[in-house]
């Protein structure tokens, strides 16, 4: 029980602190660009790519940040134009529940096995 609470705290801390920290627009732009896949050089992120497509996307993301759109709204815009594939961070949807939850389930399952194999006694 304590361990579960510890993990929950850590998870919350991560998500919480990331949204609270003061990220400048340049850093935000870089963060978003690293999360977008380039459609022409399909193994690279838009941040790394020098293709025409990457060039255009960089300008668009910059403009949208300037216009005040949030990170989520920018991803939504790109998702609408190009499909889910363009984002490196898979969204938690009915398609990806297994993706996100299976490792965690396996972790808990592994923990159960470890627990069963240990003698826990206090002397």
């Amino acid at each position: 029980m304590k361990i579960i609470k510890l993990f929950l705290i850590i998870f919350i801390l991560i998500n919480f602190s990331q949204s609270k920290s003061d990220i400048k627009s340049e850093e935000l732009k870089n963060k978003i660009l690293k999360n977008i896949r380039c459609l022409i050089c399909q193994g690279q992120s838009v941040y790394d790519s020098e293709s025409d497509f990457a060039f255009s996307i960089k300008l668009i993301v910059e403009k949208k940040i300037y216009d005040g759109l949030s990170e989520k709204q920018i991803y939504e815009f790109l998702r609408e134009k190009y499909g889910e594939w363009i984002l490196y961070d898979p969204v938690l949807s009915k398609n990806t529940y297994i993706l996100w939850l299976l490792p965690l389930l396996l972790f808990l399952f592994g923990g159960a096995i470890v627990y069963m194999n240990l003698i826990i006694k206090k002397k």
């Binding site: 459609l39 022409i40 399909q42 060039f55 255009s56 300008l59 134009k81 190009y82 499909g83």
Partner: protein, 173 residues
């Protein structure tokens, strides 16, 4: 007994994985965005190719007409190949062709048109490629059919050919 059930489940699992990987081999690993979604025509402001003045999209896609938007560039080799098809399409009075000049040098683009002919009733400049993104395009050439309700009903990625030309003509009926 418990062991045997366990073994059976594991074997089933691996057979499942094998089937998935086997089928996965036949799928292409290159991603192309879905071309079948019907989307609304985006509203945008752009520059006219010859007049070099700003144009609003609502003034371009006015009439109760079919429009075909074609993204092209002078440096794009397949665009040359598909050009005759565009010329043929432009003879059809019931549709209007709008060209989008993508990431190009204006002089080179003008030379391209002078050399091969102008199938477009209007050409727009997209120097930074940002307008193409509004259409969900990512390269050249790409072609879109826009219907009378201002919806994008079909998208073609790559150069047009005779077969696709027939498909377009069917759409227009």
């Amino acid at each position: 007994m418990k062991n045997k059930i366990f073994l059976f489940i594991i074997i089933l699992f691996f057979i499942f994985c094998f089937i998935i990987f086997y089928k996965g081999l036949n799928n292409s690993n290159i991603y192309t965005p879905n071309i079948n979604n019907k989307k609304d025509l985006p509203i945008f402001i752009s520059k006219d190719f010859y007049l070099e003045t700003e144009v609003n999209s609502e003034k371009i896609f006015l009439d109760n007409n079919f429009y075909i938007l074609n993204i092209w560039a002078s440096w794009c080799v397949p665009c040359r190949k598909e050009h005759p098809i565009l010329m043929e399409l432009s003879r059809n009075k019931s549709i209007k062709l709008i060209g989008l000049n993508y990431r190009d040098n204006l002089n080179n683009a003008k030379k391209f048109i002078d050399e091969l002919g102008n199938p477009y009733s209007q050409i727009l400049i997209d120097e930074e490629g940002t307008l193409a993104v509004e259409f969900g395009a990512y390269g050249v050439p790409e072609t879109f059919i826009i219907d009378k309700n201002k919806k994008i009903i079909k998208k073609f990625i790559g150069p047009l050919n005779q077969k696709l030309l027939k498909e377009i003509k069917l759409f227009l009926k």
